[in-house]
């Protein structure tokens, strides 16, 4: 299982390469700097949230409220700005709101012991509702030119959007924390067996609370990026993103049961989905076919490891050289 998991991540990496090649073959408008910048810009919010969601799902929890949190953060930013708060301060306000949303989810899950799936379905409605309560039917536009330039523009002299710098930094931090610090280990341990983690001196509840808070904060960051990119804050933005983000994380090889996953698998998955969307779009496929492709990839991501595992077990059983005289109960001892 674990050994295969690594292979699946490589599979996603290979798929990314495949998707790029496919795009280049299908359309001569695909493989160029300008399109790459479009793809990067398109996946930024998803990717930022997916980084945090990876931790959360590995720890065995889930957050369906991320899109609503993103939007509430954006709405708060807009609300504050419209109320006359300096834009920079409003950005901080938006981030704090995201953090607060995450903390509230975490509080409900860790302190009240409610299941995260149910809780975050409810806060999905709650945070969305608060966006409406804040902005009513008036989206906020006419944001400062400078900041919109950051949101939509590119780094001078390159094709890279400004937000890519942010994404790269956050992804590097997330990768490092997940795979090279004890906090990452804690996350995995909790996902494999939360009770054993508690008995091993890991602060399970506090870690989970932190992970929810981080997911909220990252949703807030994505909310700010979203606001700048679309030069507006409205109460009905980012609807339905939550399932796409979760799908991307799962496609990246993270197990919904917790305990398994890698950061670069998720990053490759998010990029793959962005690339394949662009490739198919440029090849003239309709938006509807993109849905089918997303769903199909998600299914393949769980079916393929299963099938390979079965095949491998079969070959292992058949191979004659593996007659090492280790006798042990494979069953339940």
């Amino acid at each position: 299982m674990i050994r295969w998991n690594l292979t699946w991540d490589k599979g996603v990496g290979l798929f990314l390469i495949f998707a790029v090649l496919l795009g280049s073959l299908l359309s001569d408008n695909f493989a160029n700097a300008s399109n790459l910048s479009f793809v990067l810009r398109d996946v930024t919010e998803f990717a930022i949230i997916a980084l945090a969601m990876t931790f959360l799902i590995i720890s065995g929890e889930i957050d369906l409220s991320v899109a609503s949190t993103l939007n509430l953060s954006s709405a708060s930013l807009g609300f504050l700005y419209r109320a006359g708060v300096p834009f920079e301060v409003a950005i901080v306000g938006g981030l704090l709101v995201g953090l607060a949303c995450g903390l509230f989810n975490g509080w409900l899950v860790t302190k009240l012991g409610l299941p995260s799936l149910a809780v975050t379905i409810a806060t999905l409605a709650l945070y969305r509702g608060l966006s409406y309560a804040l902005l009513g039917n008036q989206p906020v536009n006419e944001l400062p030119e400078f900041w919109i330039g950051i949101g939509y523009g590119r780094i001078p002299g390159t094709f890279l959007p400004w937000s890519t710098i942010l994404l790269v930094v956050l992804a590097a931090v997330a990768w490092f924390v997940l795979h090279h610090t004890r906090y990452g280990r804690w996350t995995f341990a909790i996902g494999v067996n939360a009770e054993a983690a508690k008995f091993s001196g890991i602060p399970v509840q506090r870690t989970k609370l932190m992970l929810f808070a981080m997911t909220g904060l990252m949703s807030g960051v994505a909310g700010v990026v979203y606001t700048l990119r679309f030069a507006s804050a409205s109460p009905d933005g980012a609807v339905g993103y939550e399932l796409s983000i979760i799908a991307a994380v799962l496609f990246g090889g993270v197990s919904i049961a917790g305990g398994i996953g890698t950061m670069w698998g998720v990053i490759a998955a998010v990029l793959s989905l962005g690339v394949i969307r662009s490739a198919l779009q440029l090849a003239g496929f309709t938006a509807n076919s993109l849905l089918i492709v997303s769903g199909g990839l998600l299914l393949i991501s769980v079916i393929a490891p299963k099938v390979t595992e079965t095949l491998r077990n079969r070959t292992r059983a058949e191979s004659k050289d593996n007659t090492k005289k280790t006798i042990r109960e494979v069953g339940n001892e």
Partner: protein
């Protein structure tokens, strides 16, 4: 399927030369087991000897690769749990497999609910299970959900389940592992009853005293093969152990002379409503301090509270004169306490994770430079401990679920010993592990104590308590009943204290 009359002349069940492999691993090579009606038959062997696989073949979980299995002289249909049940086999697993959300009545009849007119007949099921419980001498409410009932009661429900199927072959896989001695007695009388009614009972246990008290015949397995069968009356414990391990076992409780030092851990007036009240004791460096009592007397709850898994209502836990904050295992760990928990699979290990990760999980801070986790150091540490404890494994990257029970327990021990604790709390340290490993664990604990570590041990095995402990703290229903020194402790005194002087209810 029901045998009309017990026929002791002809075997009920014959399993002949059964073999079974998983992937490339041979779990059963040449296993045979013959059962007669009306006997209690002990199936013995170390962990990994193949007992469970053999029993699971009988239960229909596995299908044998080779060999003959006949039931009442007819071929036995293998490979389906349903078919096994229908053929009159009932298996009571080591870990009771009840459905917590269902009522006890439905648990008894699960998969074979009584029906009238095609619909589930609840009153009938409740009535019949009430009768079964009465027959087993317990007062359980069939209406009650199974969630939260004690392990002993779960065991009884499993037996009721077996009785309700009119099973002629009843397999009990270590049924006593989690039972107090009183409950064991209750179980034994049930088994004797079953035997008299003509059922064949297969009894798996690591406690040889029980085997000799209860069983008529025995079969010993080693390395996937049957070593031999014999009448209990014709053998001795020493013979059995030799057959099981294939060698002489030196000493089961290699207690070293203790070097008792200063008080390390002080528990003062600890209380938790409904669990235990006013528990006070001191544990000294170099001492093995045992908490004895019946299962459910609150011992595990006390040590969970001491370590910080659960909070407590009042009292305090003091380590080296410093009070420990309640409910903070991380702080306890950092201050020098370790806890080897009762339930290895659920609490002790990350079954799907590698051996290395399991060993290192308590050391992550030590293995880090600032926040960077040094993976090389992690591996070398795990390797060193694996060597120290003579762990048997293929590679450190293997998930611990591939290890045998004894080796798994060694992993749990190493992860705590690696923290170099001043106080090591061990809860049922040798439950469900084989004789050989048991002795190793005892030797290890004894050594560590001699080197100055304080050991706080919870054990339901009286021989273990007697053999290891310097002092015995006896509990009953959450209360402290008395403390005995090593030289004044004997089984009778402990049991009297643990049962409050009244044995029967």
């Amino acid at each position: 399927m029901v045998l009309s009359s017990p026929d002791t002349g002809r075997p009920v069940l014959e399993m002949m030369h059964v073999a079974k492999s998983f992937g490339g691993v041979k779990a059963l090579v040449d296993a045979s087991l013959t059962l007669y009606a009306g006997e209690a038959h002990a199936l013995l062997g170390e962990n990994g000897a193949g007992k469970s696989t053999l029993l699971k073949t009988l239960a229909g979980v596995h299908k044998a690769d080779a060999g003959d299995v006949t039931l009442h002289g007819k071929p036995f249909e293998q490979g389906s749990t349903k078919a096994s049940i229908e053929q009159g086999i009932a298996v009571i697993y080591q870990e009771p497999s009840l459905f917590p959300d269902l009522t006890l009545a439905e648990n008894v009849f699960i998969g074979r609910q009584l029906t009238s007119g095609g619909l589930v007949d609840w009153p009938a099921m409740e009535r019949e299970s009430r009768e079964l419980f009465a027959r087993l001498g317990v007062n359980l409410d069939p209406h009650q959900k199974a969630r939260g009932i004690s392990i002993a009661d779960q065991q009884i429900v499993e037996i009721a389940k077996a009785l309700s199927t009119d099973a002629r072959v009843i397999v009990m896989d270590e049924p006593t592992a989690a039972l107090s001695s009183k409950e064991v007695e209750r179980l034994f009388s049930v088994v004797r009853n079953l035997r008299e009614q003509g059922s064949a009972v297969v009894f798996v246990s690591h406690r040889l005293d029980e085997v000799f008290a209860l069983c008529d015949r025995m079969t010993v397995m080693r390395d996937g093969s049957t070593v031999g069968s014999a009448l209990i009356a014709d053998t001795s414990e020493v013979d059995v152990v030799r057959m099981m391990v294939g060698r002489e076992v030196s000493e089961l409780f290699p207690k070293l002379p203790p070097k008792i030092g200063d008080v390390v851990l002080e528990v003062k007036g600890l209380s938790l409503e409904g669990q235990f009240s006013d528990i006070s004791f001191e544990v000294r460096a170099g001492e093995i301090f045992a908490l004895a009592g019946l299962v459910g007397s609150g011992r595990s709850e006390v040590i969970r509270a001491v370590f910080g898994i659960d909070r407590y209502d009042s009292g305090s836990v003091v380590l080296n004169g410093q009070p420990l904050p309640p409910g903070k295992p991380a702080v306890s760990m950092a201050s020098g306490i370790g806890l080897v928990p009762e339930d290895r699979r659920q609490q002790g290990l990350f079954m799907a994770s590698s051996i290395a990760r399991n060993v290192a999980v308590t050391l992550l801070k030590k293995l880090s430079s600032w926040i960077l986790l040094r993976k090389k150091r992690e591996e070398s540490t795990a390797e060193a401990w694996a060597e120290t404890l003579q762990l048997k494994f293929a590679t450190l990257a293997d998930p611990v679920e591939r290890l045998s029970g004894g080796n798994q327990q060694k992993v749990v021990l190493s992860k705590w010993l690696a923290t170099e604790p001043q106080v090591l709390i061990v809860d049922e340290p040798t439950r469900g592990i084989d004789v050989g490993t048991k002795a190793e664990v005892h030797r290890l604990l004894s050594q560590k104590a001699q080197q100055g570590m304080a050991v706080l041990m919870v054990s339901s095995e009286l021989p273990e308590v007697m053999g290891m402990a310097d002092r015995v703290f006896v509990m009953r229903e959450g209360m402290h009943m008395g403390t005995l020194d090593r030289d004044e402790a004997d089984p009778e005194k402990i049991i009297t204290l643990a049962t409050g002087g009244v044995v029967t209810r």
